[in-house]
């Protein structure tokens, strides 16, 4: 039963208030994309044992989507940040790098 802090309203929300939305930072491929690109976008999802970036919605709260970086093995939460982010904030990346020296980066 996770707790995540919603970066929009600041509430430390527990899992029953949240809706999970799968992997974050996906690039959408629409008409004109190759079969491989569309397949990758639609079906291929990362499932790492370790650092993972995810979409969550504060569904029974402010209603906003946000992104979270956490460790799937230890459930450590490195941080949450707005959904309107093209990549994880630099300071969050630095924090993860410090805690997980072997981490290969978010891409």
């Amino acid at each position: 039963m996770l707790t995540l802090e919603c970066p929009c309203c600041g509430v430390k929300a527990e899992e029953t208030e949240l809706q999970a939305g799968g992997e974050a930072h996906l690039k959408r491929y629409g008409p004109g994309s190759s079969d491989e690109e569309f397949d990758g976008y639609m079906f291929s999802r990362k499932n790492p044992r370790g650092v993972h970036f995810e979409r969550w919605r504060h569904a029974y709260g402010c209603g906003k989507w946000f992104l979270a970086a956490r460790c799937t093995a230890t459930l450590e939460v490195f941080g949450t940040y707005p959904a309107q982010s093209k990549e994880p904030p630099a300071e969050l990346q630095a924090k993860i790098k410090a805690k997980r020296p072997g981490w290969e980066g978010w891409k």
Binding site: L2, E14, M42, W65
Partner: protein
């Protein structure tokens, strides 16, 4: 025989006798008794039968680890099976009944299984219930169902109530022994918000039984003072009868409080489930004593040494006049001394260690007790109760040297820390060679959201068995300032691991050494599993059912995996333990449900007209969390007749449908048109103000997800209607794309579903009815189909959409929700002269099917694209993109072999069963008949007087007139012809009048 002693018993109040019954026999106990102590006090040694062999079973333990003492407790609405005798407090009038026997506890036919025990080895079920295949249905399954399950299922509705509670704490300390109390004192003094919980009704744990000296006083006095001091701290909350059931992610702790189990019917909730969020958890859960594996260790009267001590000291119950002690450690000597203090006889202490020279054995010798070193029990004599034991050399094969007669055996195989909570969230264990136990590895704890440890184990739960060290550990773990409370307790000499007694026992003895007495798993079963190739402890558990009983192997697990390790010739740490999973002990289903039962099991959504439906014969249909009227029953009428009446009336006069549940979402902003063009397959940005358009939404994978009428309200705002069940989902879908993908688009959405009451007024007399209400021009010329108007209708602020889902002349009128009921009443009053009659959802369904309109969830199932439903006209060819467009470009989405929508008409006029498949020639790779289509909607049409259906059929639209075979039950085949799905008013004249 077991009896109540004349003196002593720290927990019982002899001035308050209580009466209760066991298998209908009246019995007496005292306030403070558990059911177990009360039964033992009345010489009820045998309390049940084992699961597999139906062997006699007696109480082994005195706490949560008890595997045998399970009874059905209570009557009627308060009956519950499998209640543990050792943890159930006695109350006046308690009615108990033993389990798993027929016809009686004393004489049980099922005990025949015991005679055939060698034909029922480990893995019996897996080996036997395999072939032949047909035997499953007719032989194996009935036999298994007959013998499966322990106890009787309650037949009545639960008379008690249950509740949830929520709490937050900086620190939760689980366990109210001296470790938990010392930790609470230390943490409480620092001002933290602390909870201290204890599963039993009493504080102090084992130290008070063993009369340890703490800070110069008796442990019981120290405990009393400590509890008083903690009660004086406002920041600390104390709860007895509260068990920590499981620890989950990020400090989420489930706690189970048994409020009124001991005072049934007093009006309080029976159980309370605490949903605690803890900053940190300290487990002071103590340790559980292990049995020893010797032949006949399951006979009633063989008990854990610590339990014997508990019964004597706490409840003044003697397990027998003569108790033999058998041990591999010093602690069991305390039991011998406690028995002596109570004036009972200990004929011998059989110690498996070659030498027993510690202070405790010396004290025993000094009091004249016979200590037999290097020996073990070869065999326990007796069947329904112990009559004696025979001795053997521990290092030998079990030759019987001497027989000692006795009434009870107190055994101790060492201690296992209670590591369940520590392990629930991933805390790791290490094997402590010296004490032969798995204990928490402080270097590898479960971690919380911040990556730091969220659990600390202290005291015996941390593998520390000496009271003085326990207090020091607790004090420092809780961050205590100054010196820890000190204790005076004897120093125990090292124990010696003993997994089988005697070490070289042959097959005959091993077949009588029980590991798990509830599920009847013996040493020989685990050894057999190892010989048959089982190496993983998890597999062995499932194969032999070791530790799978209601006690979850609290006393049997370590012994079992030690036997497995030995059989596999490897170390115990390499074998490891099975996974510890919540709950620690079983919790009631009532507590899990909490208040969510009966009418408040699920919140119900009601339309403004719900009250009218309720009083006018509504036959309800659940649609999501809404209740909608399926039809309105009139006096003496059946459902089918009511539906047909409603349809005929709508087709011939005028009907009213409460359509308030339809989703209504406003989409507004400079980019709203562009946004809707991405969401819908058709073009919504070009819809003129004042008009309506039917639209389709697909998932990004191309499949049809929702449909509804879109209304252009103003230059920059649209109203999107969704299906009843789809409102929240589609609103969430819109927000997802707006917040996460197109966040720079200026669009605002609002779900206004419950702001409006909406009524469909359909039928040839619909216009007359609205004209009578007056106030708006609803003529054909002024108000054409697929347009909307706003105004005042019969005095109501109304927005009218001229849309039809029934195929009739139809107006859907939305009024503010608060005026919905008044508007409904006004329609009924004004419509009387035009034959107005409400209709329900089934009439709506049938009328739409008569018109060939699709229904999301009937014609679609998440694998259907709009093109399959001949809805290509609603897919824009001009738009460069919409959600699902790329997916629909995939080759198999454009395949001509996809099943497509057609109408189906049975040759005999009957109704085809829903979901029936049309078969094709030949069989597939699995030998099943090939198929070429299936029924998606099927009804009896009162308008046409015959069965009609819609379905998806391969190349369907090109095969009009062909007849398909639909095999149904009992080998029958329904024949149906492929026809146009529009059965009624193909030209659409009726809705355009």
């Amino acid at each position: 025989m077991s009896t109540r002693l004349q003196k002593g018993g720290r927990l019982i109040d002899r001035t308050k006798p209580l009466s209760f019954s066991f298998n209908g026999k009246r019995m007496r106990g005292f306030a403070g008794d558990t059911l177990a102590s009360a039964l033992l006090g009345q010489d009820q040694m045998m309390v049940g039968r084992s699961f597999k062999y139906h062997r006699p079973r007696g109480v082994i333990a005195s706490g949560a680890e008890e595997p045998n003492g399970l009874v059905g407790l209570g009557q009627g609405g308060r009956f519950e099976p499998n209640q543990r005798l050792t943890t159930t407090e006695l109350f006046e009038g308690a009615e108990t009944a033993s389990q798993n026997h027929w016809p009686s506890l004393e004489f049980d036919v099922g005990a025949i299984n015991d005679r055939f025990a060698r034909f029922l080895p480990g893995g019996f079920y897996y080996k036997t219930f395999m072939f032949p295949r047909f035997a499953w249905k007719h032989v194996f399954e009935p036999v298994i169902r007959q013998s499966a399950g322990l106890g009787r299922v309650p037949q009545n509705r639960d008379e008690d109530r249950y509740e949830y509670a929520y709490a937050f704490a900086d620190l939760v300390i689980v366990g109210g022994g001296i470790a938990g109390l010392a930790a609470a004192l230390a943490a409480g003094r620092q001002g933290k918000r602390v909870w201290l919980i204890e599963q039993s009704a009493h504080w102090g744990g084992r130290a008070v039984v063993d009369a340890v000296q703490i800070e110069g006083t008796e442990a019981s006095d120290w405990v009393k003072d400590a509890v008083e001091a903690i009660e004086g701290m406002e920041n600390v909350t104390l709860r007895t009868r509260t068990m920590a059931s499981g620890l989950y992610d990020h400090g989420y702790l489930l706690m189970y409080e048994r409020i009124a189990d001991h005072t049934p019917g007093d009006g309080r909730p029976r159980h309370r489930l605490w949903r605690m969020r803890a900053g940190h958890v300290i487990t002071a859960t103590g340790a559980i004593e292990r049995p020893l594996s010797f032949a006949g260790n399951d006979i009633p009267g063989v008990m854990l040494a610590s339990a014997v001590r508990d019964y004597v000291v706490n409840w003044a119950v003697s397990p027998g006049d003569r108790t033999v002690i058998v041990t591999n450690n010093d602690d069991a000597y305390r039991t011998a001394l406690a028995l002596l203090d109570a004036g009972l006889v200990v004929p011998a202490i059989i110690d498996a260690r070659p030498e027993a020279k510690g202070p405790l054995p010396e004290a025993a010798r000094a009091r004249g007790l016979r200590v037999v070193e290097g020996h073990g029990i070869a065999k326990v004599k007796g069947s329904k109760r112990v009559t004696g034991v025979s001795l053997c050399v521990q290092a030998g094969e079990g030759a019987e040297l001497e027989t000692i007669s006795c009434d009870a055996v107190a055994m101790s195989g060492g201690w296992s820390p209670v590591v369940h909570l520590w392990s629930h969230c991933g805390g790791k264990l290490i094997w402590d060679e010296a004490q032969a136990m798995f204990r928490p590895d402080a270097k590898r704890p479960a971690t919380g959201a911040d990556g730091a440890a969220m659990v600390t184990a202290i005291g015996s739960a941390n593998g520390i068995l000496n009271a003085h060290e326990v207090l020091a550990d607790a004090h420092s773990a809780a961050g205590g300032k100054g010196a820890a409370p000190g204790a005076v307790c004897g120093e125990d000499a090292p124990m010696m691991p003993v997994w089988i007694m005697p070490q070289g026992a042959g097959p005959a003895l091993r077949m009588k050494m029980w590991l798990d007495p509830q599920n009847d798993v013996k040493v020989s079963d685990v050894q057999l599993a190892a010989r048959e190739g089982y190496e993983s402890v998890e597999h062995t558990k499932r194969y032999t059912t070791l530790g799978m009983a209601t006690d979850q192997g609290k006393i049997s697990n370590i012994n079992g995996l030690a036997v497995l390790s030995d059989a596999l010739n490897r170390g115990i740490p390499e074998t490891g333990t099975t996974t510890f999973r919540p709950p620690y002990t079983p919790i009631s289903m009532g507590a899990i449900a909490g208040e969510a039962r009966g009418e408040i099991f699920q919140p119900l959504r009601k339309t403004p007209m719900h009250g009218w439906h309720e009083t006018h014969g509504a036959h309800w249909e659940p649609v999501g969390q809404w209740r909608r009227a399926y039809c309105y029953l009139r006096h003496g009428e059946g459902v089918h007749d009511a539906v047909n009446r409603e349809i005929r009336n709508t087709r011939n006069a005028v009907g009213l449908l409460d359509a308030s549940t339809l989703g209504k979402i406003i989409v507004k902003g400079p980019d709203a048109g562009r946004f809707l063009d991405m969401l819908y397959t058709n073009m919504m940005s070009t819809l003129p103000v004042g008009k309506c358009r039917y639209g389709l939404m697909c998932s990004e994978n191309g499949f049809l997800s929702d449909d509804g009428v879109v209304v252009r309200l103003t230059e920059d705002s649209w109203l999107c209607h969704t299906t009843t069940g789809g409102a929240e989902r589609i609103h969430g879908w819109m927000e997802d794309w707006l917040q996460c993908e197109w966040w720079d688009w200026k669009v605002y959405t609002a779900n206004v579903t419950e702001e409006y009451a909406q009524v469909a007024i359909a039928g040839p007399n619909a216009r007359k009815l609205l004209e009578k209400l007056g106030g708006m021009d609803v003529s054909r010329e002024a108000f054409p189909a697929m347009e909307w108007r706003e105004g005042t209708l019969g005095g109501f602020r109304a927005r009218i959409y001229r849309i039809s889902f029934s195929g009739e002349l139809s107006y859907e009128v939305a009024v503010p929700a608060s005026e919905g009921r008044a508007f409904w009443d006004a329609l009924l009053a004004a419509g009387e002269e035009f034959g107005v009659m409400p209709y329900g959802t089934e009439a709506m369904h049938i009328m739409r099917a008569e018109k060939g309109f699709i229904m999301i969830g009937d014609e679609t199932d998440g694998t259907v694209i709009p093109q399959d439903l001949n809805l290509g006209w609603a897919i824009s060819k001009k738009k460069p993109d919409y959600l699902g467009k790329r997916a629909q470009e995939r080759s198999f989405m454009a395949s001509p072999d996809r099943w497509k929508l057609v109408g189906l008409e049975t040759l005999d006029g009957g109704v085809i069963p829903d979901g029936a498949y049309a078969v094709a020639e030949g069989v597939n790779a699995n030998g099943q008949r090939n198929t070429q289509g299936r029924v998606t909607s099927t009804y009896f049409s009162p308008t046409l007087g015959k069965g009609i259906a819609m379905g998806l059929v391969r190349h369907g639209p090109d095969r009009m007139g062909e007849v398909l075979d639909f095999p149904v039950d009992d080998g029958k085949v329904v024949k149906a012809r492929i026809v146009d799905p529009v059965f009624y008013d193909k030209e659409g004249e009726k809705q355009n009048v």
